[in-house]
Amino acid sequence: MSNLNDAYKQNKVGPIFNGGDVAQAAIEAAEWDNPDKEITIDDKGAYVRISAEQEMIITRESMEEALGRDFQMNEIEIHLGSMAGQIEVTPEQIRFFFEKTL
């Protein structure tokens, strides 16, 4: 943290979950849905931060696969405590992204 003033000049996006089976499933889904990206996990106990560079997509289909049950995309809200980046939610996927690259 040598120069904190510029610390924000990075491009990590992604959800922050407060736990639950949805968080675990989202980690798996993020791997499947973003095959070219490195997904990093930062587990703080009460919350877990899932990140990728610039854009991350999590699809309903992958969530269902990971959970082994039906899943509506907006159920993700139940454990979604925060997020890095802007979001766009459709019935089939949630996308975390930055418009700009810093």
Binding site: Y8, K9, Q10, A46, Y47, G81, Q86, P91
Partner: protein, 498 residues
Amino acid sequence: MYQIPRAEWYDLTRATNWTYSYVTEDEMFPEEMSGARGIPIEEWETYDEPYKVSYPEYVAIQREKDAGAYSVKAALERDAYVDRADPGWISTMIAHYGAIAVNEYAASLAEGRMARFAKAPGNRNMATFGTLDENRHGQIQLFFPHANIKRSRQWDWAHKAMHTNDWASIAARAFFDDIMLCRDAVAVSIMLTFGFETGFTNMQFLGLAADASEAGDHTFASLISSVQTDEARHAQQGGPSLKILIANGHKEEAQKLVDVSIWRAWKLFSVLTGPIMDYYTPLEHRSQSFKEFMVEWIIIQFERQLADLGLDAPWFWDDLVNDLDVTHHGMHLGVWYWRPTVWWNPAAGASPEDREWLEEKYPGWNKTWGKCWDVITDNLNNGREDLTLPETLPYVCNMCQLPIVGTPGNEWNVQDFPLEFEGRLYHFGSKADRWCFEQDPERYKEHQNLIDRFLAGEIQPADLPGALAYMGLGPGEMGKDAHDYAWAEAFKKQAEVA
């Protein structure tokens, strides 16, 4: 029964602007309430909320969230965690509830303003849910502490605090009233939902939840992190407003609204969250320092979001970054010293081990803040508790309503930032506090801080007991050292061994 998927009807059903025939648009949406700033209503209709929810979906999801938080509470109730929790952690909860719970109700009104007066139909839709969210936050954060009133009257301050003139209540109200209750719908969406909720609430509701779960307080951790899932949704209302303001040539004003909100939130969190995270939470349960949480949530995550939406870093960014090493240590020292004036028992957090941790996280702590704590520790160990208690009141800032602080030690740098306006002399604790005032003096000029009231003779008798009565603090409510000075004892033992 076949249900048409939401995506196919949502845009149509939320297109709820119509052509008025009985009233004018200005009567329908008065500028003081709507804050359209001359941008035509068609532009506001392009407002695209990133989170789209229907009412049945909302109810189903909220039910699930509540079921989660309440079932954790019910399951752990017999465990009586509160009876064996560290007193520093108890103080954390009591301070949190008093500062937050009733302000959640106020937030409900702010959401209600957007739900009625925003010219953007999408904003009105999301704010309708936001109104219900904040009502939930108020109720749940009054209900949980209520179970503990039998343990101490201080728990009752979850409800009482905001109805008193305690200095901390005045400070919290001054901030929340400014960004939530006394602004038009567009300003609320930017100052409350963007400035405050995509930024600072993460500190108090996720950062603190990390400490709570470390401390074994799963009830509190699940409660506050559940609250934050609502915030994550309704905090998304500000982004689309910002985009519309910027696209229509109002970037400068958008930036100003964000900057005022950030600075004022920062000051409040420096007195509330800073001491909680770095001093009250027992050492072994501190998952990160306050500064580290600030860097994670504000300095990196929030500032990056700001940049993506097309805004600049606030002009005071360097000051804020520097103050991460300073302000909350001063606030903590002040709160502890003036402990009878708060509704919780401040934990000193100044044992030998605590100080080692503080020096590691904030290099130089021992030769600055530590010097003050040396004197306090000596006084306590020499039987002079009286010298560690206040007799007067500290000078407080006319913007943040908090003591004016600086770094003690050889480079003692406390500074007043005065301003004369319409014949009245105001005092501010920083350049940025004074700048907030200068942006809108009409809004702030009448306000009397606690010291102004004292000097005007509103507080009688004009001494500390009079001030305590004015603040509404009765016996059993005034704060004392959370650990009955056990932390200072440890230095005595150290000295004896040596």
